[in-house]
Subunit: 236 residues, 2 copies
DNA sequence: CCTTGTGAAGTAATTCACAGCC
DNA sequence: GGCTGTGAATTACTTCACAAGG
């Protein structure tokens, strides 16, 4: 499949092809590095970072190797340095303005969620269509009408939109976001969004997560014998 | 690794080894099948189900084949029949009582979230430690103190717990859940939980999802030329 | 010593492609 | 003719294991 014409930029070539699985773990490493930095640690080994991130050491080393060799053999990785590199790789060197569509339970919670701002995502607006919600205040923001979305997106140069509407309204919300110029969507509605090829969608379906847990619970109950059968027990 | 002593139960053997990737898609198929059923469709081809689920047809067929051959060649799958099988496989033949730890923005939203009950997950209780939140009403439930958790779990035979606390309180919340007998945890706090081997954890980190989107946005900006550069545009 | 970085080996998931059946 | 079910081929991801370097 790949017939490299020249050998030049082989490193460049590699750097640009970070596996999806690695990309999904970078934010976790980022979080762990922030914690380590807060603790005042100045170096960390792949083993230690792996422990903190809940993966194994080989994976950490391979993941980090995709975008450069920032470790010192015999010592480990310099926390500050690595943090800079990971942050740069993740595009977290600047803030990302985001809009939320849907100011129901979930949308409201997301708008007030501290974890977003802390990690460089600023909610610059939240919109809805219901008369009851438009105008409500949500932690420093006022819910605006969905018709204000194009203006909001243009004004703050928003690239990322969050869909937190009921399922029936989600496709419309996505269409509006795309028309307004948003190119990445985080979708909490339990439907598969239909968007142009250049728009990236990530789906978070909370019920699906529970269903996956239920699958394993169910199987656990069905399996006759496997490791300790130890059924639930209250300590005292 | 597996040296099957006998050939008997080869089907059984297979059925019990559904790949994780397939398990993660079953809930999506389940949702699509519910929609199809609501539309009154009685059969569906792998192609159509794939379209609805946002995957490809070969994947659908392989996924479904792991737990049996429920299709008819030349026709497709009978919606009702397949729904029963998927539901059984997912352990959705009965309701799953769940508890939520943490009644902040997210925990409150989750407690009121209709999508859970609709898909067989009943929130039987929500607990917190803050004086301000304990006692508040949340859509039919009253927030109870975290110390009531063991009783709550025992009373409703809860197997699944949801952690929606601030990061600093999450490990404690998980410990309490495990001690109370919960064996599956859905964790929204951005930390890696340390739990016994028999407890399954699924992590949902909302900021991580945004960071993955940001990674691709950033890379898009960095890439010199690739497909239409079409930068955002407001329609009107 | 210790720990990284990475080819090589191993495992898992996806996709192909077609025989088999309605 | 159309569509499933599935081995085989391919691709992606993980883990091993060790040479190289501080």
């Amino acid at each position: 499949m790949n017939v490299p014409g020249t050998v030049r930029d082989v490193a460049e070539q590699r750097r640009r092809n970070i596996p999806d699985a690695t990309v999904a773990r970078l934010p976790v490493y980022h979080r762990c590095l922030l914690d380590l930095q807060a603790e005042g640690r100045d170096t960390v080994s792949s083993e230690q970072l792996a422990e903190a991130a809940g993966v194994n050491a080989a994976k950490v080393r391979k993941d980090l190797s995709y975008f450069g060799s920032y470790g010192t053999r015999g010592v480990g990785y310099e926390v500050d340095r690595l943090l800079v590199e990971v942050r740069r790789e993740l595009g977290l060197t600047h803030d990302w303005p985001c809009v939320i569509v849907g100011a129901g339970n979930l949308g409201s919670a997301l708008a007030k969620f501290a974890g977003f701002r802390e990690r460089g995502f600023t909610i610059v607006g939240i919109v809805d269509v219901a008369d009851g919600t438009v105008g409500r205040k949500l932690g420093g923001l006022v819910v605006r009408h969905e018709s204000d979305l194009p203006q909001l997106v243009a004004e703050h140069d928003v690239a990322i939109g969050v869909v937190a509407t009921p399922p029936a309204a989600a496709q419309g919300a996505a269409d509006t976001l795309v028309a307004a110029g948003v190119t990445s969507i985080l979708n909490f509605a339990p439907i598969v969004l239909d968007v142009p090829a250049h728009v990236m969608v990530r789906q978070v379906d909370l019920a699906v997560e529970l269903q996956i847990l239920a699958f394993h619970e169910e199987r656990r109950a069905a399996t006759p014998a496997r490791r300790t059968p130890a059924r639930r027990r209250v300590p005292s």
